[in-house]
Symmetry: C2
Subunit: 232 residues, 2 copies
């Protein structure tokens, strides 16, 4: 998986690679801050105090991930706000287009939407140096919410089978919106795209491997929808 990965020293010697890593940490950092806000909003909608507390705990874990990324940016001599700023609009449009109408939609979004996001960043991690990869994999760790979400969503569908159809559509919409924002980011941020497609001194991955990556992302997405009892 890591044959294309440059050595950590490339951050200092290859300005294009350095820019790509800053973009990657910036997009992840804003994503964590944004995940914090969203999971906290889900906590506010939770009918049970125990679920509320569990979600608040997950939100604080997202915040700790944010702090790790921010601290790394500072170590690199980068202003975190500047690194995150280019990605703010994409996240805000994604969230504006996919504001959950209720607690269940929030749960599906936390599992399915965040799931495809972290899968993607884990794929990208194959193309970066060891230090950056360790950080990316660490912040993409599952926070243990999956089990609780699967349990609550399945129970809700069992109680009201019509909810299944509505939530399946919702899952498709989440992925569609995530992809359209990802495409915008890829088009606007050359440095970030070169991690995959290659740069002046770095070979990119080939089209066949990108195809396999997309197949893995799609498979995982379908697996998550199935775990919730939803048609992908």
């Amino acid at each position: 998986m890591t044959e294309q990965a440059p050595p950590p020293s490339a951050i200092d010697t290859d300005p294009e690679y350095r820019a790509a890593v800053i973009d990657l940490l910036g997009v992840l950092a804003y994503g964590e801050l944004s995940a914090f806000e969203r999971i906290a909003a889900d906590a506010a909608m939770a009918p049970l105090i125990d679920d509320k507390a569990a979600l608040a705990g997950m939100a604080t874990a997202e915040y700790r991930h944010f702090v790790q990324l921010r601290d790394r940016l500072v170590e690199m001599g980068v202003d975190p706000q500047e690194a995150m700023d280019p990605f703010r609009r994409a996240y805000e449009e994604y969230h504006a287009q996919t504001t959950p109408k209720d607690w269940l939609e929030g749960m599906v979004k936390a599992y399915v939407g965040d799931g495809i996001g972290t899968d993607f960043y884990r794929e990208i991690a194959a193309y970066v140096d060891d230090d950056t990869r360790a950080l990316v994999l660490d912040v993409c760790d599952d926070l243990g919410q999956s089990e609780m979400i699967i349990d609550r969503v399945r129970a809700a569908i069992q109680e009201d089978p019509r909810a299944g159809g509505r939530l399946a559509l919702w899952g498709r919409r989440l992925v569609g919106e995530a992809l359209s924002q990802a495409q915008r980011v890829a088009a606007e941020r050359d440095a970030l795209s070169t991690l995959l497609v290659g740069g002046v001194d770095r070979p990119g991955t080939d089209l066949a491997e990108i195809g396999r990556m997309l197949a893995r992302l799609t498979d995982n997405h379908s697996r998550r929808m199935a775990a919730l009892g939803l048609a992908a």
Copy 2:
């Protein structure tokens, strides 16, 4: 301040006192969870990423306070959800009646509304045993938000002096709503009220001292409004 305070052993020997402590920890725990949610919502409204990150950090500190209180309830053999449940409605009505229309109202609420709340719990702390008092004072600690809030609110009023009038009214409304919910809780929760007014084996405080306590709460409130540049 602590002449009325029972020994920590009273939790085991005096059922009425034990019920009062459970109520106190329960109301504080739900308050922290609720503060977590609200500050996270303020973070979502923050125009600057740095402010957003700072508020998210404060929200996670509130969550840690919640965990301390919940753990103490569990140590006491109490189901935290049961201890918090009686106070949920009062907090939710308070927040429903005082939903900030914008980021500035959120900041004033975090400073003025939470301020009078923690002042009140700090006063109550004088009437409980040493162990409970230490925990209450710890979770009522200022989280360092004050300085940032004062700075942002004063700057906003300087830029738009009319905002001062609107925010002063807002501050008065916050206190009015907080008092009406506090009165409801006092009326519904006998055990909690006996901390102040006394129980079978415990002397309460006298009316003159309650008057002085209310004067201290009012003074502190006026001082906070003045710090924001607002008429109390």
